[in-house]
Symmetry: C4
Subunit: 295 residues, 4 copies
């Protein structure tokens, strides 16, 4: 569980541990000191463009805004029907590139900031305290290992993309908002990595295979399952997950006409990638829609 | 109608009968004694893994949680568009395997705990008191007779599955969440059992034919009508009804591409069946969505 | 505008006219007497199974329940996406078979009981008072003229049926709830009746042509426009409009599979027509959904 | 930012500028005088059918009703799923044909009357004050230049139309509410105007090319992007954007049947155009639906 610390008008998010949970930190008083140190480290990170490398082996605090964005991404993707009860969203730890943050095993539409847990890149929980975890968290950890450019990973079962994961028909960009698909959308076949499985990315080996299939691309489809979508931050990853699903639905209709399709060209996609527009405009709308819903 | 009895922090649901409704139980005082005995029996059932066989010929109380889950399943399936005004959901009586519980004839979206009635497996009401009943309740009773593994039955008209009930195209699993379809989805043709009918499963004979077509499978389609979905409990049956409809819609799009489809294999389905994931995660989300709606 | 009169626990709906609007009824006092007479006539109608023939040339009061049902049908069909801003619903006057009741020109989703007007079967308003009227009201009047069995008429632009109105593919029943389509669904081509038009049924001649195409059937499609749906009462007509649209959408998917379709047979349709189930169950749900929406 | 001035029961909308923002207008007192003059000019415009030509080089006030309609068009098109986070709507300045009004860069679903900015026809802001602007505002300015009949321009990414923008299948009218499409729907290929681009209409040259492709028609598709829809006023343009998307979806289903399609004929479209029905009926419904939503 995370708690809040207010330093002036900066609200920091820090992991809370009961006394005894960590060797050598036995009392509430000690805990209070530890929290304060963590808060100061977090403040320093917040004020500095360079993330402190020395934080790699200890738990660093997370700015409240980052946790809130992660929570909102969960709610937004639920609200828009891109995540069902079983998808998940993560962000790389802002202060520690060898950690990522993701909810405990709970439907994205119900995620609160209290549900966020921290994992290392082998997808071990840092401070589990009995909470259940997503079986498929290895998708996230293994992608973060091989993609330093990626700071957010989303795993969806979005209905628009499934038909492209189970046919020979490649998903390709048909609308500019999904032009990032111009680099190609690999389809990962879990049978190639694990033979006959229960279809879940349940260990690091399967996660590594999926991450390899993804390569340096923004989206990979998972056969008969869904997709993995990545981005430099959670807003871009969220937008990509939404636009990938919309693109798939529009492409399916265009395919039904039976003729050739005029796809977004690689050149167009590359130019768009270099100037991707304003993700805040969509985020603000999607957030407002989520905030209007009863909780 | 069911009433509540509180025993410590256990809330029991017991059928209420007006004096004189049952031969030999003529006064309010007697009724009160009977209720107390039933409550005690219910408490014993609740505390014990073994269901008392001696309860088979009398009405046993039902834990409030079971009635509430049944009510929620109705509301959830309405909320998600899987049940229209004419579908229904039942559970096997938790304390009496020769009985089942289902709402009086009312749209699933309007079901309250007060609407739940009790039936024997020939689909006779135990305590009708003038309430109207689903004409097609025989679907439920006849399935419970031949499927001891089944504790919940759902009958839907869900729009996604109808096209597969009226064509030669078999419904097959395309996404892991519907991998339970790997055993095959029979299509029941009411003409084979009843010739020209009004399409309703209006008696035990038609119900038996449908149950035979279902066999040991989780889902059977009913030609030009809908489907019957079963499960070991109401949560699993609810999830199966929802994922069957979603699978059908995605398969229809994939079919429109015109090429071969890479279905979930029998081996994958079997592995998934042996470790079906966490149904609570979806249930919690679906329940929360229903509870947020105005009543 | 209609006003209320309460007689015991019966609430009657009566047309209100300002003094001077009708020749020979010049004062408020006279108007009050007239209202009282009308209320008594309405009460007699309400208590009697036989509708008074003598009411044919004067305005008879309408039971409040009938007006409310008509209002609800408008709201329900809007809520379910079957009526857009331009559709309309009417009922035959309960006390006068040569009159019908329908809203002034307003979107169905906004209709209140105060918007209901009365028309003769040539679609002249009985008491217009400057209100705008649906240009296409002739659809209603001309159908009532030739279909004494019909007491409700609905005109929709429902999106599911349009593709069947502009192709050679006949709309046929694929699900039991739409089995009433077994008699065939004519497609009315306005060009046959009016040559090049603005597509609107703007006069009695076009209305007669449409009514002739409808014949004795429950539904006729209007090419490039929508459909007309009729029933013995407004609840049945409402259900038919909804199920016709749903049937069309499911048939379109089934057609996309490319093989033969196993339609509801004429015998099945006829048996179902003779025992159409309980329309109240759906009505109660649809009404409840409408009543939950903010007004 | 706009402020209100009340003159009797007329509410005028006038741009507010901080002192010093305009050369030569240095004090709050001066500003008040300017506002009053502007209000009087606006009142004169409001009372007169002829728009004052002399207003072309100064900022004239805008009636509050016009600003409110523009805001509502944004909200309506968001509510109906025709505008996503990135579309935009403009109106020509009611008092100055060489100006147009459009929101700052914000999602249409979030637009308030305070977000409206004013632009000249080269799409330069009249009074920017640091606000971000739509990159693609040139669509609007260039269309207003060459289409004096047009007083509202809408740019959408509506999902129904995209398939027709990337295939050889022309979008044609299949339902009377979209009969205005009978004149043909050009598809603008940005490659013809700009070669390889990032797909955005980011300057006047691209805007001119799009406006030329639109010609004298109500709708042009933009390949892999969306469409531009115009009208004599914002209500008609809004209705056209909505019906164009609906028409596209119905045409796609009809095309899937594989046979010939009976389109709205040019003669029918022309007759309908000459008597387009009552746009207020739909507007009132759509507005009511928007007003019911939580803000």
């Amino acid at each position: 569980m995370y708690g809040h610390i207010r330093l002036g008008d900066i609200l920091l998010f820090v992991p809370l541990r009961p006394p005894g949970d960590v060797p050598g930190e036995g009392t509430g008083g000690t805990s209070r000191v530890r929290l304060t140190r963590a808060a100061i480290a977090g403040l320093m990170w917040w004020l500095s463009p360079a993330v402190a490398e020395t934080a790699a082996t200890t738990t660093a605090p997370v700015p409240a805004a980052a946790i809130e964005e992660l929570m909102l991404a969960n709610r937004i993707l639920d609200d828009r029907g891109v995540l069902d009860a079983y998808g998940h969203v993560s962000i790389r730890h802002p202060a520690n590139p060898n950690r990522y943050l993701m909810a405990r095993a709970i439907a994205p539409g119900l995620v609160t900031i209290e549900d966020i847990m921290e994992f290392d890149l082998d997808s071990n929980p840092i401070d589990r305290r009995g909470r259940s975890m997503f079986v498929e968290r290895f998708i996230h950890g293994e992608v973060y290992k091989v993609r330093p450019d990626v700071n957010s990973v989303i795993h969806t079962h979005s209905m628009g993309v499934i038909p492209f994961s189970i046919t020979q028909t490649p998903l390709r960009p048909v609308i500019h908002n999904a032009s990032f698909l111009y680099v190609g959308v690999p389809v990962w076949e879990i049978r190639d990595a694990g033979g006959t499985t229960n279809m879940l990315v349940r260990d690091g080996k399967l996660g590594q295979s999926l991450a390899a299939a993804l390569g340096n691309k923004p989206v990979a489809l998972m056969r008969g399952h869904g997709n993995v979508v990545v981005g430099p931050n959670v807003r871009v990853a969220t937008a990509r997950a939404i636009f990938t699903d919309e693109n798939a639905r529009m492409q399916a209709v265009a395919l039904s006409f039976g003729g050739p399709i005029n796809y977004i060209s690689p050149g167009e996609g590359a130019l768009r990638d270099s100037d991707p527009g304003d993700p805040a405009r969509a985020w603000d709308l999607w957030k407002a829609n989520v905030m209007k819903k009863p909780h």
